[in-house]
Amino acid sequence: MSVLTYIESKDYKAKKNSFEVISYARALADQLSTDLVILCFNIKNINELSNYGPDKILNINNDELSQFNVQKYAEAISKASSKLSVSHIIIGGSTDCKYLAPSLSVKTNSTYISNVVSLPSSLTPFTLRRSTFSNKAFSDVIIKNEKIIIGICNNSFGLIEKKSSPEILNLEINIPESTINQESIELSSGSISIADADIVVSAGRGLKGPENWGMIEELAKILGAATACSKPVSDMGWRPHSEHVGQTGKPVATNLYIAIGISGAIQHLAGVSSSKVKVVINSDPDAPFFKAADYGIIGDAFDIVPKLNEKLKSFKAVNN
């Protein structure tokens, strides 16, 4: 029984978070003393996948899989996993993975555990730790089923490089028709999505109005970051809904989270607390966010952010 990890692709390339997913799957396969198979769709150059130690790679090239479709994807992964006699399937924590995992679990008779933050602490009974109560707590869960789908949280495990020379598999898999049709797709051009970002620059009601977001966008651009906002900011239409982060918005688990003019309400913190480094800029020394951050600056965002942008630009000019 092997471990299989399904990794997502975009523009014929593995998505960035894939390498963490493979690193986790490799470590699990080692713990179980078994093989690791990578399953992916339509990736042009699979060489970079072998930097993280797979034993085998199955890259299915099929136009039917060029766009995400929950039914087609779940079916393809399920068929591959039964042909390869897989016990554990490892996937990431993206929106699409969370969409397909429940279907996949029923198709493969597996138990699905989402939001997993570490390797099993015990194999018998199989025990995993997951994040729960919207990041306000963790729980240890025993899984009785032999077949398990593990969905891991972004940035919870990290990367472990381990070069291998994987065997390249070839499998014919029939993709069924889907009864769910995509009518259209609208992608916000150019900008980095919160899920893909390493850095998120987020701003709140302290910015006073949508016209003041220029400096936030500039900071994001300098850092190669995604932009985000607090809930009231999206409720008032200052920023698009897709930027709303927190307990009822998108979760953020990045390396760096910069919060500007955000008070740090419990619902906001719940969604962003798993970011590694949190920097807060707020004019009120008593803002609750200062209790939950790593670095803080007390001051007026309208004064600090433009200055910071200039400093970052000169730093980059000298050091790049």
């Binding site: 429940p102 025990t127 480094v277 970052l312």
Partner: protein, 248 residues
Amino acid sequence: MKILVCISCVPDTTSKINFIENDTTFDTNGIQFVINPNDEFGLTRAMWIKEMDNSTVDTINVGLENTEPILKKTLAIGADKAIRINEKPTDGFRVAKLISDYISNNNYDLIIAGRESIDYNGTMVPGIISEILNINFITNCVGLEIDGNKITAKREIEGGTEILSCNLPAIIGGQKGLVEESDLKIPNMRGIMQARQKPLEIIETENDEIGTEIIKFYKPKEKEEIKMIDSENLDELVEIFNKNAKVI
């Protein structure tokens, strides 16, 4: 049309989360329970459909007696009937199985659940129901239109949105955007009075093997002291971005 709204009963978003009995049990002392926010958007969306075409809207929860005030609230908001499956929900697959059994005996056209419950965060119940019943499933819905036998849903995806369509019967996972927060229906006096006459059906379950068991809870590690940076000394922050966060 017959609509079923799945209601998960969760601690209010402002709740401090604590555990008792050697960290094996969630401490409900002083906790106010509410309709899971993602389900609340779905419930209001269902009410709008009902207002348009006289659909019936039922609500369902898998939970113990303490969830009844929440189910009564859904009746006061306008649901026709509430169903409580009498079991403590601890496993997403089991909850989905119990709801699926109810649906297959009662033939609903549209089932509305939430994208995710904010306590368990399984993101699994509606997806598993769809697979057990072999019906269409669309999640992360920020918009839903119904035209005869066809639904069209706007789904939030990474970096944008997509429009998906499928035939009924179907199940969706809703979130904010399905309706706006300012549109959320709240019970009024008349609704509360009417709710008293509405049925709240209780269903007993049979013992069955449950596939997972939560053995312990943990609270996140206490945060280390924050390091303050003087607003006149932004070079220090640039240095931190470079050295500690390694982002530039």
